[in-house]
């Protein structure tokens, strides 16, 4: 399908797109897209249904007697901006590590871009980009050197690597920091560099573990625009973030994991309607807690992860009284 091979043709979009200076289509807001139809692109639906970008079956990971990820069945269609949410320690990063081949599952299978990850790890790794939890940068390189190294490792020729390095450094506003070692970068600068390294080879699937953590508002805006542009060009993005507002704004599909198990899956509308909840019988729609917009992702998230498997409200810290706090 053309929409996965290159820029999305404007005529295929169901809304009037904004164009960049070079005439490329820029999709700004997934929420805007959702409000105009279930699919972002016409003609893509059939293929996205048949060839999932990520498909896991009974994915499980245990560390000793602790089950971090428990029997997870995930399906992420190609072209989706997929939000993967969960409270701290829910199993998000472990899942990403398994999906990117950095951690072997205890049991279950993973297929990425139609191929078995274990059997075709090199081919699949070549088509994915990752911003891992710890960023995994080589601190004693400069940003320029690091991007050149990554480009070469992904098989880009020297000229392409140099061009993309220059473009990415300028895009990420790191061009002025070329003499600095990465170890001397701020956290936000390291995040931007990690993201640049993750996209230098033009991946089909991008895994982002908390990409906006520590990134300033200006840079976050730039990154969001870039990610949406990648989606428009047919890439799939798998995002975890604790900033629910960003997930709500960007992601077309959302899955929530809690204590290693998937507890909700679907579009935001489906989650609002309670249709995507897994294994939680009879959750009563609660009134939004003070300060939260009713029907917002944050409210839905708190409803879901604040209940146990039977749907009973779990004890939360907010219920406990910290009388000594002023």
């Amino acid at each position: 399908m053309r929409c996965f091979s290159s820029e999305v043709p404007a005529k295929n979009l169901r809304y009037k797109p904004e164009r960049t200076r070079t005439g490329q289509v820029l999709i700004q807001d997934a929420r805007f897209l959702r409000s105009r139809g279930r699919s972002v692109y016409r003609g893509c639906k059939q293929e996205t249904m048949t060839t999932p970008a990520i498909d896991t079956t009974a994915l499980t990971r245990r560390f000793g007697d602790f089950t971090a990820v428990d029997n997870v069945n995930l399906r992420v269609d190609a072209g989706q901006f997929f939000g993967f949410l969960g409270p701290n320690g829910a199993g998000k990063s472990t899942t990403i590590k398994m999906l990117t081949g950095l951690l072997a599952p205890t049991s279950g299978s993973i297929r990425v871009l139609g191929g078995d990850l274990r059997a075709n790890s090199a081919d699949i790794k070549r088509q994915i980009g990752v911003v891992p939890e710890g960023m995994a940068l080589f601190g004693r390189l400069t940003a320029d050197e690091y991007l050149q190294f990554v480009g070469r490792m992904y098989g880009l020729d020297r000229a392409t690597t140099l061009n993309r390095t220059r473009e990415l450094l300028e895009f990420m506003q790191l061009a002025g920091e070329q003499k600095k070692l990465i170890t001397d970068f701020s956290h936000g600068m390291q995040k931007k560099l990690a993201l640049a390294a993750a996209v230098i080879h033009g991946p089909k699937v991008l895994f982002l573990d908390e990409p906006f953590e520590g990134v300033d508002a200006v840079a976050a805006g730039t990154l969001k625009a870039m990610l949406l542009r990648m989606i428009a060009r047919g890439a799939t993005i798998f995002l975890t973030s604790h900033v629910l507002e960003i997930v709500e704004r960007l992601c077309t599909h959302i899955t929530i994991i809690h204590r290693g198990q998937l507890v909700a899956q679907g579009s935001l509308d489906e989650l609002r309607a309670g249709a995507g909840r897994i294994g939680q019988a009879g959750i009563q729609e609660a009134a939004a807690p003070p300060g939260l917009e009713k029907g917002s992702l944050e409210q839905i998230f708190l409803e879901i992860v604040g209940t146990d498997r039977e749907g009973n409200p779990a004890a939360t810290a907010s219920e406990q009284e910290l009388s000594w706090l002023s």
């Binding site: 560390f63 971090a68 072997a104 390189l141 070692l181 009284e321 009388s323």
Partner: protein, 583 residues
């Protein structure tokens, strides 16, 4: 904003990435890391001058030692190989090769934690790139070849080949080929052991067991030496280790060293030599295969971190507590720590908890005492002069204990921010850390003292005991003062008891290590003229008269250091942030 050009589509079936591209990329990565490490931004001003002076001193001391360490084994190997062939002792050649291999592996195993700390990047992190396993195996085989044990081992084998060639020119070529394969065998053996050790050492309990085993091994060697090597007179010592090697006889021929030796010596019987050579090759392949099995597990995403033993806990029911009126809470006195202020007591408790959860450190505290027991039981050490034995043994115990004073904030890492943010005096934190160190030193020295007094063959004169006690106070106080200053000026993040340290982290950095050695050896050397003068003049209390004022001066210097600690830490906040708080 810069516009990114449209990415080329990555097609489903892409041409394979040439191996040379990826291998060269990693070689270039190593080169850049090396170059950037060499020309890293250095501090300016006074710190630059101090760093320069220490750097020169360090090189003046370390380089000749390194040269000796390298030249010694290489020259000895060449000479022994020459002697084995020219004097017709083929078995000696096998023993020599076994000795080189044992030394090579022993140094490598002991250097694992140092190597991990010095690593500028983790080669295992390459698994995230689109590498095929074969390339990953090649990279892991090549990366880290420039370790001291590998360099010295390879040079020693080359020297042995040269020695063989000089003794018998017809053996020169086979010796070179066999030594090359034997070197490869040793490299893969090191890699295999390293990879499996890495797997086992990822577990804290195993690390502690391993530390204990290594300490026991060292102690056992000393103990066997004590039992099997009675003093027969000056210069007459039989080496039981060499005896074992000699008596091992034909067993050596079933080891790779035996295969290598026979492959060289049986060159006039080509089939027999070939069979031996194949034996050597087979052992090389075997070690490479076992190494590959381990690497393949890593490649597939093996979890190599601390074992997670978290259990999902049911959320506890909220406890009903009687509300404490805020005014009462604020006005209530803080929890008292007995004779210490609450801050000192809290910090002491934290240090104690860290110590008791770190088995490796506890073993490290215990090991010198075991050696003191062994030395005290050995007539050779304890009977030659009780006057010298006590101060020497105490100095030996202090060597390890004092080095921890030079990086007291290193184990706190980012946690040091809490100290800087909390409404406390940093003086209290420093005091608590020093008190904990002091308690450990006093315990160690006290135990060593008791052991010597109980086990030594001759009673230690009171004058020597007083002199040693004053000398100990002087050394400890001086090291506390310099160590605290150094801890503030040059902190270095490290994780206690962990093999893989963050970014070049070590419990004591190189300059601090040099300082410890300089201060300690300086203090020890100070004892020598005092002891000689004391004997010569027949003045047993001379040491006490000299070390007494020095001890008072050192304690005074430490008190001054404590007084300025607050100010110094405030001035060094950026250093703390730079060294301890960064990822």
């Amino acid at each position: 904003m810069v516009e990114l050009t449209g990415p080329e589509r990555v097609p489903g079936s892409m041409p394979p990435i040439p191996a040379s591209t990826q291998l060269l990329a990693v070689a270039w990565l190593r080169w850049r890391i090396f170059v950037n490490g060499m020309f890293r931004k250095r501090p300016k001003g006074k710190r630059q001058i101090a760093g320069l002076v220490f750097g020169i001193l360090l090189r003046l001391i370390v380089w000749p030692m390194l040269a000796l360490i390298v030249v010694g084994p290489v020259a000895i190997s060449g000479f022994l190989a020459w002697m084995a062939i020219s004097e017709g002792h083929p078995k000696s050649l096998a023993s020599l090769l076994l000795g080189i291999a044992l030394l090579w592996q022993f140094v490598s195993i002991n250097g694992l934690s140092i190597a991990a700390a010095m690593q500028s990047f983790d080669p295992a992190s390459l698994v995230r790139f689109p590498l095929r396993f074969g390339r990953y195996f090649v990279l892991r085989s090549l990366l880290g070849l420039m370790t001291p044990s590998t360099i010295v081992g390879c040079l020693a084998l080359l020297a042995a080949a040269v020695g063989i060639g000089v003794a018998n020119a017809s053996l020169a070529l086979p010796a070179l080929v066999v030594m090359a394969v034997y070197a490869l065998m040793n490299i893969y053996l090191t890699r295999m052991i390293g990879a499996w050790m890495e797997r086992w050492l990822a577990n804290r309990r195993f690390r502690e067991i391993f530390s204990m085993l290594m300490a026991l091994f060292a102690v056992s060697i000393q103990f066997m030496n004590l039992q099997r090597t009675p003093m027969r007179g000056p210069g007459v010592r039989s080496s039981w280790l060499i005896n074992i090697l000699h008596s091992s006889g034909s067993y050596l021929y079933w080891l790779p060293s035996g295969f290598a030796a026979q492959a060289i010596l049986l060159v006039k019987h080509p089939l027999a030599a070939l069979a031996q050579f194949l034996g050597l090759l087979a052992s090389t392949v075997l070690f490479a295969a076992v190494f590959a099995i381990r690497l393949h597990k890593q490649f597939l995403g093996e979890y190599l971190d601390e074992g997670v033993s978290r259990r999902v806990q049911a959320p506890s029911a909220p406890r009903a507590k009687a509300p404490v009126p805020q005014s009462a809470a604020l006005s209530a006195p803080a929890a008292s720590g007995g004779i210490f202020s609450p801050t000192v007591a809290a910090c002491l408790r934290k240090e104690w908890l860290i110590l008791t959860s770190n088995g490796t450190q506890l073993i490290g505290l215990l090991t010198p005492l075991i050696f003191v027991v062994i030395f005290s039981m050995n007539r050779a050490f304890s009977a030659f002069s009780s006057k010298y034995f006590l101060p020497s043994a105490i100095a030996y115990v202090l060597i390890a204990a004092l080095s921890s004073l030079y990086n007291i904030f290193g184990a706190d890492g980012r946690g040091v921010q809490l100290y800087l943010l909390a409404p406390i005096r940093m003086l209290d934190v420093v005091l608590a850390k020093n008190l904990m160190s002091l308690a450990l030193i006093v315990t160690q020295v006290g135990l060593a003292w008791t052991i010597i007094c109980v086990l030594a063959r001759a009673p230690v004169p009171v004058s020597v005991q007083i002199s040693t006690a004053l000398w100990t106070v002087f050394v400890v106080a001086l090291n506390l003062a310099i160590g605290t200053w150094r801890s503030i000026q040059a902190p270095r993040k490290f994780v206690p008891g962990q093999t893989r340290q963050p970014r070049g982290g070590t419990p004591t950095n190189r300059t601090s290590a040099l300082l410890v050695l300089a201060v300690l050896f300086g203090c020890m050397l100070l004892q020598v003229p005092v002891a000689i003068a004391s004997s010569y003049l027949g003045a047993p209390w001379l040491g006490a008269w000299i070390f007494g004022p020095l001890a008072v001066a050192a304690v005074f210097a430490y008190a001054l250091m404590l007084r300025s600690a607050e100010r110094l830490i405030f001035a060094a906040r950026d250093v703390f942030a730079e060294e301890l708080c960064k990822a």
